[in-house]
Amino acid sequence: MNSRRGFLKSLGYGLILLKTGLLFPLKTLAAWPKKAFSSEEPQDAIRALFGDRTITESDRIHIDMPRGAENGAIVPITVRTDLKNVQSISLIAEKNPIALLAQFSFNGKGRGDYLRTRIKLAKSSHVFVIVEAGGELCSAKRYIEVLKGGCD
């Protein structure tokens, strides 16, 4: 019985590792990536998060965001995707003082098909969304006009 339970346990753990694609304990997932959050340029933030991995533009990521915002302090954004096995969704603003806004990671019963939040934008620019799904990186972007910067 014991060995069977142990086997099931390790099988379950192995599946979690497979799903997240990570070979270190889940707790470290939540470690705040200081370097990524000190980058001014989107490409530096992306490199800090994903190294030099290839990112492919995808029409399977849908960004719902107003075309214009009078005040950049509160901009609602919704991301939907039908990509399978979503591991994380990262939101990046092209012209903010700090490019990376947030990264949302999903495990187990957490589904990455839908995400809604509110972001700050300093000026008119693109917002980039990077979805990590099934070990691949996919991206989409949307442009928004911002009348009053919201990053002070």
Partner: protein
């Protein structure tokens, strides 16, 4: 003062979790309008959501998330009576957490 508000809506065992956290999310660039002194950076760094002690969602965020952060997302295979725990910690080490039973 309730610092976290969580609302859940379940259909076909998929739950939409909507969470709002009361937090100033100070960027460290804003000046106090009266004294002109810079207000120190103060923002949430991590939000974690557990379903029955299993991590389902974690967020790492910087100052680019709006004041009083709002997050909504889906979890699947949810049963009535499951317990959802949502917690946050900020750059000053302050934290809070809330438990909600799925109905």
């Amino acid at each position: 003062m309730a610092k976290i508000k969580v609302r859940t809506k379940t259909k076909d065992r998929i739950t939409t979790v909507s969470a709002m956290i009361r937090h100033p999310m100070e960027t460290g660039r804003r000046k106090d309008p009266e004294t002109g002194v810079i207000i120190p950076i103060h923002h949430i760094q991590e939000v974690t959501c557990l379903l029955n002690d299993e991590t389902v969602m974690t967020t790492v965020m910087g100052t680019g998330i709006s004041k009083n952060p709002f997050i909504a997302f889906h979890i699947e295979d949810v049963d009535k009576g499951d317990i959802l725990t949502l917690s946050w910690v900020d750059n000053l080490g302050e934290s809070d957490s809330i438990k909600v039973v799925i109905e």
